[in-house]
Amino acid sequence: MAEEKMNSDKMWVTMGPQHPFSHGLWTLRVEVDGEIITDAEPEVGYLHRGWEKECENRTYNKIIPMADRLCYSASMTWSHLFCKVAEEALDIEVPERAQYLRVVADEICRIQSHLMWLAAVGTDVGNLTIFLWALREREFMLDLNVRLCGQRLTTNYPRIGGVRNDMPYYFERDCMRAIERFEKSLWDIIRLTDDSSIFVGRMKGIGYITRKDVANYGITGPAMRGCGVDYDIRRDDPYDAYGEMEFEVPVLKEGDAYSRYMVRIEEMFQSCEIIRQAMKKLESIPKNAPYRLKVPKCIPEGTHMARIEDPRGEGLMYLVSDGTESPYRLKVRSPVFVNVSASKHMVQGVRIADIPAIMAMIDMCLGETDR
């Protein structure tokens, strides 16, 4: 038996923490037989800081910018989630103007995160033009972030009880212009990718997961919707003002990497639609309506839970509070943590060169995986 193992043609290759594909700091050890992969073992933890334990050492207001740095690509959704769980603990409902502002900021964050993903996908499969085109569009979304929240990336915009500030002057005009411009240029980018047989050929037909496995592995988000599960927390478990928005949730049945890619592109269009509806609604709410409630420093005892639709999947926070200024325990459920654990099954039977294309479709952001 030992001789068989020694003489076999398989070997373990380490695609180490420093690697050319631009998604995060992790290791994927694969067992290859020639070029075909027979087994895989992901290894994470290079960015572990003990975020949840550090939260026990901070007051609730100080955790909001820390939550931004959980998933740095889509930072608004994580601080939004933290404020949601704190508001659930205080049992308050956020004023209407703040709800719509949060929706707008969330969707801008979603578009910006998907554009960063698109740029990284381009570099991974070899199409370097998309890197520049997608990042150029992303800069306009980041400009909107700067106008609304003050910072490009880790925005620190929501507060417990509302948002940090109201819209600045002429924000509706800037936002509408940016959205219209973005929709036209997204068509240009799509023409660059869909008409390229190399791009499509690299993604179609690899990385299959069946619908039953998707639920079992706990994969959520666009990766799940590309496999046929019709579930989106914004529509099915609505929070803030999402109950009043009308938008479609793109779902595709094929289950390969290409369908996950198409789902995200369509989501960007739907986000534009949501922002339009939210801005229209904001015009009808009076301008001096409150956008932030005053909340006490200490949060009452109890256990509380909140969920949100992050650009990468389902984010969940579980808070145990004990009546003091700091949380007793704050657990973060990150969608990428579970998606990466399922990568072992997704890369079976493909070549090494297909790994970047498959992993790109999970859209890894290792900050929230390792916490």
């Binding site: 700091l25 800081r49 960063m116 740029a119 980041l142």
Partner: protein, 187 residues
Amino acid sequence: MDMSLYPHAVAMSADEFMSWSSAMINEMLSAGTKRTVDKLTGPVWAWAMRNSMHPLHFGLACCAIEMAAASDTRYDAERVGMIYRSSPRQTDILLINGWISKKLRPDIRRLYEQIPAPKWVVAMGECAISGGPWYDSYNIVQGLDQIVPVDVYIPGCPIKPDAMIDGFMLLQKKIDAYFRRGVFMTD
């Protein structure tokens, strides 16, 4: 180079070649050639090395997103000569942009030692400078200078891409000063 003048150089073993070339160098040094050559080529080296800084393609955390944004069309880091390379053997600069966990510490040291000299290290962001917001963590190294010697610190959390280009122009001055004194024949 016309190797026909030195037929014995082509057929030498490694040891013989080393002793022959060091004998030649000692002759040139005693004649004062080194100083002339340094004066002539120093500025040329400095111009070439400072305008072709090749950092390592190593993205850790939030500042890595801004590093990617620094190479996009608005901030264009390539105009200062930065092209990212994937293999550490082909780079000059180790660019650390994120918090450093204890699991990553040996890997950073190994990458630093894999980069051939002369090399520089740039610490981007508060986490790489001194641990940043994670000052009380059990798993975070409080600053990059505990592992490798750092040349340029770029503050910010996350840094603005303009600040990164500014930091690299500062590094250009440092590279310029290193090469201008002349490094002909220095190992």
